[in-house]
């Protein structure tokens, strides 16, 4: 019977969970907990905060299940709760985020040396992953949501728009500005890394 739950679509599982089939909600947790945790961690960086958001998200989903009408998919709904919960957490902690109005993405990096040639695997080491997390952390919260959903979690512009209750045009605009800021952050990182290596080679 448990095997059956694995093969049925989300909508049917939600319907069963609404009829208080407790195993059905358990299966929804199994399907989405890693995605929810991942989104929360990418937005907040701190594993304890991400776990708080994970628990808060599924608690809200459980409490709201009866009134979930299926106007959006369960996936969109759970992502929306996660993104909002993570945003509240960011605001509550009063983490030093830049306001969206101050986020002038046209701050041209000092020097965009072309660090891109070569395979992605060559660049993707631990130090780079730290810099990538730093870059997300430096984004204003509203940009961070869009960037993580779209470019880290790989959702479509339309899905991100629905999750965040924005127009697709607004998603595209925020996304482009977020990407520029992220790229500029990484450009500084790679310039610095190369500078250190060059200095090391000389000494």
């Amino acid at each position: 019977m448990a095997q059956d739950l694995k093969t049925i679509p989300d909508e049917a599982l939600v319907a069963r969970a609404q009829e208080e089939d407790e195993r059905a909600f358990g299966e929804l947790i199994q399907r989405y907990e890693t995605k929810v945790y991942s989104l929360a961690l990418k937005m907040l960086r701190n594993p304890e905060d991400a776990e708080d958001v994970l628990q808060d998200t599924f608690l809200r989903a459980y409490r709201g299940l009866k009134s979930f009408k299926g106007h959006s998919t369960f996936s969109t709904w759970i992502y929306r709760i996660t993104a909002n919960s993570a945003l509240m957490k960011l605001r509550k902690k009063q983490l030093p985020t830049v306001s969206i109005d101050d986020a002038d993405e046209r701050e041209t990096p000092i020097n965009i040396a072309d660090w891109a040639p070569g395979p992605v695997e060559q660049l993707l080491n631990q130090e780079t992953q730290e810099a990538m997390a730093d870059a997300i952390e430096a984004l204003p919260a509203e940009f961070r949501q869009v960037f993580v959903l779209r470019d880290v979690e790989g959702l479509s512009n339309a899905d991100v728009a629905e999750i965040l209750d924005l127009s697709v045009a607004a998603v595209k605009s925020r996304l482009h500005r977020a990407r520029l800021k992220i790229r500029n952050h990484l450009a500084h990182f790679f310039n610095d890394t190369r500078g250190r290596r060059t200095m090391g080679a000389r000494s």
Binding site: E22, F25, G26, I29, E33, T34, Y37, S38, L41, K42, P47, E51, L54, Q55, F58, L59, R60, A61, Y62, R63, G64, K66, S67, F68, K69, H71, W77, R80, I81, I112, A113, D114, W115, A116, P117, V120, E121, L123, L124, T128, Q129, M132, D151, V152, G154, N157, K172, L175, H176, R179, L180, I182, R183, L186, A187
Partner: protein, 90 residues
């Protein structure tokens, strides 16, 4: 003729394949000749590839069990009639 600023403003749309072929071709012609825009384009593209290749984080040990426990407690609370009000937007 496309300016460097036009190219920079269009990189996201280009990479998301949301531009008409004629605009794409114009961008390709521009970055074929302009090394600054080539670097802008390549580093922008590589940035997205890095994030798309990064690992999905695994949940820490015990995280799933703690979540299940939280939901179990909520079920018990609901059965006793003490459920929290539903404030979730649907």
């Amino acid at each position: 003729m496309m300016s460097c600023k036009d190219v920079l403003d269009s990189i996201s749309l280009y990479l998301d394949e949301e531009l008409k072929q004629e605009i794409k071709s114009e961008i390709e012609r521009h970055i074929g000749k302009c090394s600054d825009c080539r670097a802008e384009f390549d580093t922008f593209h590589m940035t997205l590839k890095l994030y798309r290749h990064s690992d999905t984080p695994q949940m820490p040990a015990g995280c799933h069990d703690r979540l299940v426990k939280v939901i179990e407690l909520e079920k018990m609370r609901a059965k006793r009639g003490g459920a929290e009000p539903d404030t979730t937007e649907v």
